[in-house]
Symmetry: C2
Subunit: 179 residues, 2 copies
């Protein structure tokens, strides 16, 4: 298990993206490093070793990278949570709030079977809205959330973890934000 | 190496998506199958065993799934080709034609170093426009295209492979389309 500082060094901070005042945490520098990618995947997989996991759900689109790695590592399949209109077959949808307005994500209804234990993965936990919507989708479809995992957790004023207190949440590095 | 029929069976055909008359090839049924995901990643990685590969480039966003798997398998990093405005740091951009109009993709300029041999991965080869744009980006940034790999190749009237004749192109299953 790598220390948070290891990940902190491999993640690039991009000031004022996508808009002025936002410090964007860029994982492309982590995943282009062969060891960085491998360690992130292994550390997330190992963090849920005690849990029974049937499927790994990746949230669009950076979540696809880490969820696929974990799925291959533990020998399970990967399922995708996508923006509306992207998945071609029958979907279930959940809404979440943005700073202004709402957005939503979808999962194929046949992606999850009754009782499936699903690990929910994205690159970043900020307000927790997307993760909560994904967890609700898993439950709507009869699955059980085996855990929530991300590389970066923004701590401080966002309180993302508070929204997810019903679940086991793992992050590899915690970065304070002041908004 | 699995036969094309193996992949054909695991890929779902969704008629009239995203619009009437299109037979959409849905890889979500392949990747939710643990063996399907593993075999697709291994077969693509094995197809390029003879090539020196330094990095694996995934094209947004289903390409992220297979590129990450291959990168982990061969012990390399993964880099992302994304729609404009998604990558936070300095990018290079390439345009490609759609049925009506144009679109473009971007890669971080520091994703590729001079001489890097880059494997370019997406789920599907149709007209070849996106793959060609990605290959041009690799070369613009001083890299060399080590190969082009996808799960599905649409054959028939689209002639995608003709656009990519300068490169080694591998697909796991070939599906004829009649447009």
């Amino acid at each position: 298990m790598q220390k948070p500082e290891y990940y902190d060094k491999l993640i690039r901070n991009v000031p004022d993206f996508p808009k002025k005042g936002i410090q964007f945490k860029d994982i492309t520098t982590l995943i282009k490093d062969p060891k960085g990618l491998e360690n992130a995947v292994n550390d997330l997989a190992d963090s849920f070793k005690g849990e029974k996991v049937d499927k790994v759900l990746g949230i669009e689109s950076r979540g696809f990278v880490f969820s696929t790695g974990i799925a291959l590592k533990i020998g399970k399949g990967v399922i995708l949570a996508r923006k509306p209109g992207k998945l071609p077959a029958k979907t279930e949808r959940a809404e979440y709030s943005l700073e202004y307005g709402k957005d939503s994500i979808e999962v194929h209804v046949d992606a999850i079977s009754k009782g499936d234990r699903v690990l929910v993965i994205d690159d970043l936990l900020a307000t927790g809205g997307t993760f909560l919507a994904a967890a609700q989708l898993v439950e709507k479809l009869g699955g059980v959330v085996a855990g929530i995992g991300c590389v970066i957790e923004l701590t401080g004023s966002l309180h993302g973890r508070d929204q997810l207190k019903n679940y086991k949440v793992v992050s590899l590095v915690q970065i304070p934000v002041h908004e």
